[in-house]
Amino acid sequence: MNRIERVNDFVIRFANVNGSGSASANNLFAQAIFRMGIPVSPKNIFPSNIQGLPTWYEVRVNEKGYLGRRGGYDMVVAVNGQTLLKDYNEVASGGYFFYDSTRVLPDECQRTDITVLGMPLTELCNEAFENPKLRQLLKNIIYVGALSHLLDIEFSVLTDSIQRQFKKKPKLAEPNIQALEIGLNYAREHFTDSCRLSVVRRDLLTDAIIMDGNSATGLGALYAGATVAGWYPITPSTSVIEAFERFAGRYRIEDETGRRKVAIIQAEDELAALGMVIGAAWNGARSFTATSGPGISLMSEFLGLAYFSEVPVVLIDVQRTGPSTGMPTRTQQSDLIAAAYASHGDTRNVLLFPCDPAECFELTAQAFDLAERLQTPVLVMTDLDLGMNDHVSRPLVWDDKRRYDRGKVLSAEQLDALETRWGRYLDIDGDGICYRTIPGTHPTQGAYFTRGTSHDEYAAYTEDSGAYERNMIRLLTKWDTAKTMVPEPHITIRDPQSKVGAIFFGTTTHSAYEAINRLEEEGTAINTMRLLSFPLTATALDFINSHDMIFVIEQNRDSQLKTLIVTDNGILPNKLVPLTNFDGMPITADYITEKLEAGLAVSTTTTGGSK
């Protein structure tokens, strides 16, 4: 049998039962690899359930720094009887199957191409620990101990982590460390030279951090000066607000009074949540909400109001698998069209696409500036994979000299100094953005009637076709201005001669780069553009115009990004080739490689093989 033999480059999958405490053990495992300086990416694949259903945790270890999903499992740690057979069958040929041998393997398990490592986890655990609640948790820690032997993880890194975790309750650290030792000792005794996967310290991650996107987003909102959040619980965005709350409790405390300067309101539904946010934003507070697809549907009416009455709003959409309730605990990038054109009538909303925690932080902060500068809704489009999983990322940085861009807001002095009549919807500068006031700025001036009904330059209700059209066309001018303000795409030209390109965004980025690098190593150069925003900037359009065939790689069924590019820019659809994955799981590099190769093969046969 050919055993898979690799150093710092493998995928391991844990099969557990939801709510059995496996999360902290698996986390301990991933953190240890991170602390040894090796790039690692854990992904939690969990059910829409609180306790009892199957859950998986995939960890990719890759010293080259490829941290998207690769595809395939080199090792499976199976501690869930319900899915044992499926887990067994999914181990890659030459891989390793580690299981709890307290119960014998079913007869169907007859593979000869994998290494089976049985360890009586339950038995060992029950022998050592009395407390039934602890037993369940520690069983998971025992396998982490065993893995430290099998994969050569530095044991002291694990024990350090435990000690750090239980700094305040050292009594709890003891049994955890004991459990690690039980696992280590058993594995040492029974598995000699059984596993050819290993990790070796590399210290590649000198200044990197590991954190989940939702926490980074919450922190971004805090740094951006958000003081009001209105929201309604929904997976997978709930933890954005929880993080905001947590960070606000630590960092948004007024020095003199010790008071926490933030208002977080749990609304009665998503509609009310966005309504509260618009109200606060109208009143001058930086405010935001976080939701997911079903929330976007509900908030659409209010998004239209914010767009048309021009109130700055920041909305975080942590996308999950739709349509309707869909798969609430699976990932997708499928709200693009709904978000970009949310609400009836002619509307267009600005979207931002972060791909890692550092960008969640930065783009969320930038969203507040853009929303106020453009006086319009700005939606930060993350997804479940980015939001809820831990990602290795460059550190979050904030320049203390940075000042918020509040946009065109008139102060009392400016109102006094006006020589002509002020019009809330009057375009003075020709960029489509008008001057607004914040209520209460001036005792007698600057009040206006904010309305979602048709209005003229002075915010008066109008049914005059000319005034209505002028307003709608001005909003398009503003859209063009937005194109000059949104973040530029990241473009990599691998071969200036190549007419083949690829576009992607968000969490698709990591696997896409990996796949394209693989092709480059084989001699096929694909130029890439990672989009950070919608609408597209002029640079982005140049990229599209200078390539003949462009793969648009995204995680939805209908090629939504492609649709946005085509409809918003009049690009010919034929040159954009959809490459989509919509199974609810993060897209893999293997899948993209395969689809790119197939796509390129088709194009060479149809175009006569010119390269």
Binding site: S48, I50, E242, E245, Q266, T325
Partner: protein
């Protein structure tokens, strides 16, 4: 038919945590349906989103798992299109009275012949323990780390004021009593609301130090008393259980039928 005949066993094991009150309520409901000898084919269950709403997956009726808070809207459509069907709508507290509050009062106002079962555990279980409009002040939740300040709805009073013609309350501990009440609610012609206090040991219990499921069930027993009982009279702080209102009143589908007849008579002339 046996109770188990009303269950979709292929969807088991169910998704509720050990000790969750929702399974007990499912049991009470199935027994009510069985004792009434209703045909499965005549029952439609619609539900929204949340731990409670999953109940519709485990019953072998015609069932619709719809949108968060909106199950009553679907139920209204189903009922109007075929009034002879029995409509059961299990709802969680957030589902029924936060996002679904509007639908709830309007279904009550119409007095349409639907049985709404509010499985009240005073918390959002599915999303990890946020407070609900039924939590009431002084409750700990992830969104109320220093306890809630929001007043709660009294489901019984709200339903009565909005026009429901059958309103009752019981608890997961009082499973037999719940069955009896549910039987009456289902047979009642009009909008019936049955609030059943449930327990969420995973979130509510843990955060509010109410102990495990057994301890929480014990609270259902000690904190409540039957309507008209001496116990309640002596201690009005207890939560009352029983049937608060049961009135014959114009039912929406019947009235609708009458208006159709009326309009047709005029047309004939």
């Amino acid at each position: 038919m046996a109770v188990t005949d009303y269950l979709r066993q292929r969807f088991f094991p169910h998704m509720w945590c050990p000790g969750c009150g929702h399974g007990t309520i499912l049991n009470s409901l199935l027994r009510a349906v069985e004792e009434l000898e209703l045909s499965k084919n005549d029952i439609v269950m619609t539900s929204g989103i949340g731990c409670s709403a999953r109940i519709s997956g485990y019953v072998d009726f015609h069932s619709l798992h719809t949108l968060h808070g909106r199950a009553l809207a679907f139920a209204t459509g189903v009922k109007l299109s075929k009034p002879e069907l029995t409509l059961l709508v299990p709802m969680g507290d957030g589902d029924a009275l936060a996002i679904g509050g509007n639908h709830f009062i309007h279904a009550a106002r119409r007095n349409i012949d639907i049985t709404a079962i509010v499985m009240n555990n005073r918390i959002y279980g599915m999303t990890g323990g946020q407070f609900s409009p039924l939590s009431g002040p002084g409750v700990k939740a992830t969104t109320a780390p220093y306890t809630t300040i929001d007043a709660n709805f009294d489901v019984v009073k709200l339903a009565i004021a909005a026009g429901a013609s059958f309103v009752a309350r019981s608890t997961a501990y009082h499973a037999r009593e719940s069955t009896e009440i549910l039987k009456k609610a289902i047979m009642h012609k009009g909008f019936s609301v049955v609030e059943i206090l449930s327990q969420c040991p995973t979130h509510y219990g843990r955060k509010n130090k109410e102990g495990d499921a057994v301890a929480m069930l014990e609270l259902h027993k000690t904190n409540t008393a039957k309507l008209g009982s001496k116990q309640l009279e002596e201690n009005p702080n207890l939560v009352a259980r029983g049937i608060f209102i049961q009135e014959e009143r114009a039912e929406y589908c019947i009235e609708y039928g009458k208006i159709v007849e009326h309009a047709q008579r005029r047309n004939v002339k």
